[in-house]
Symmetry: C2
Subunit: 215 residues, 2 copies
């Protein structure tokens, strides 16, 4: 039976949040991966340099088995109660086996009311925003709380998607995909978490983040 | 001084090959990252599910400082001597400080004649193709031979780009970007290299690759 995996995108998303998982999930057997947005057509990422041409709208995807939402500064304007993406996330969640997020995609799940009382991961620099929606932050790379899988910042989507691949199709299929994308990470530095990077580097990133959020 | 970084894309590319590095390089200070293709407009990835809307052509990018080419099954039809992308790669390479590839992007550098007598990385399943262009394969995650940085399969582009970021702007800037994308990889399995994955998983991936290359 085909598993429908909906990947939601929006203007101002962080591309790697969704393309990491996409590259894993699109290699699964018997899946229909649907990249969808509020509107058809051109959509620009949070760096302003890559444009997606989106073919499917949220209305085109009903009752997905898996939902994946990525993060990006662009989602801060989608957190209001009447936001169409939140309506769709809530409706989709009613049928999913797995509802998942990467990075600040968790804020969209939170704003949709799905993380109240749950443990969830998000980007390390957005903990307060996440907890404002009633969730408890975990610094785990991937948090699993019931059917909710939430990943840490940006690149964590690859780890999350491999875990999800194993849940959907078993460990060996996930291993084959990992080998297919040669995911044998060897970062040249040990700076992938605030603790490892140290206070000076953390401050550089916080300052850059604040500058970007100014109107 | 602004550093121009050209990321070449083409129909049938593997998106993560270029979006991984893009997410790193677009966070560098004082860079002009240009995503470019042979033609403007819509371009579809190797899974057929994501479409880029490309604004810039190769002709729009002259004398880049850095060139990055990703892989994907779609590049097998670009390896002929009169292929426009090869012309452009050769011309660009004349001015670059760094000429780089991810995954089978190395085949394009090879077909352009840039890897003769050099050590280079590529996807583990494409070693013979690479060596057909006069290069010597290395299983290193990232090979550095002169100004040529070549990465292993797909996800290796993130490691390569962090190394490149450090070469361009210093180690602390690279560390800050690593923390910004929370690149603290924790694969759920140890299957990212042929040796770790073992022969049964290797065979699964080889068989899937061969099926995809049949016309």
């Amino acid at each position: 039976m085909t598993t429908t995996i909906a990947i939601a995108v929006y203007p101002g998303l962080t591309l790697l949040d969704v393309i990491g998982p996409y590259q894993v999930l699109a290699l699964l057997p018997d899946v229909d991966v649907v990249v969808c947005a509020a509107e058809r057509g051109r959509l620009t990422d949070d760096r302003g340099l890559v444009h997606l041409d989106v073919e499917r709208t949220f209305d085109d995807v009903s009752a997905p088995d898996v939902l994946l939402v990525g993060g990006g500064f662009g989602n801060r304007r989608l957190l209001g109660a009447d936001s169409p993406i939140l309506e769709w996330i809530r409706a989709s969640d009613a049928t999913t086996s797995w509802t998942t997020s990467v990075c600040t995609g968790s804020l969209l799940l939170g704003a949709a009311g799905l993380l109240v009382g749950r443990t969830a991961s998000t980007h390390w620099n957005c903990v307060d925003l996440l907890e404002g929606f009633g969730a408890t932050y975990s610094s785990d790379r991937v948090s699993v709380d019931g059917k909710y899988l939430t990943g840490a910042g940006v690149s964590a989507g690859i780890d999350l998607a491999l875990q999800l691949a194993a849940l959907l199709r078993g460990d060996d299929v996930a291993r084959a995909i990992q080998l297919g994308i040669e995911y044998d990470p060897q970062p040249p530095f040990d700076a992938g978490s605030p603790a490892a990077a140290g206070p000076a580097i953390v401050e550089m990133v916080r300052a850059a983040g604040e500058a970007r959020q100014r109107p």
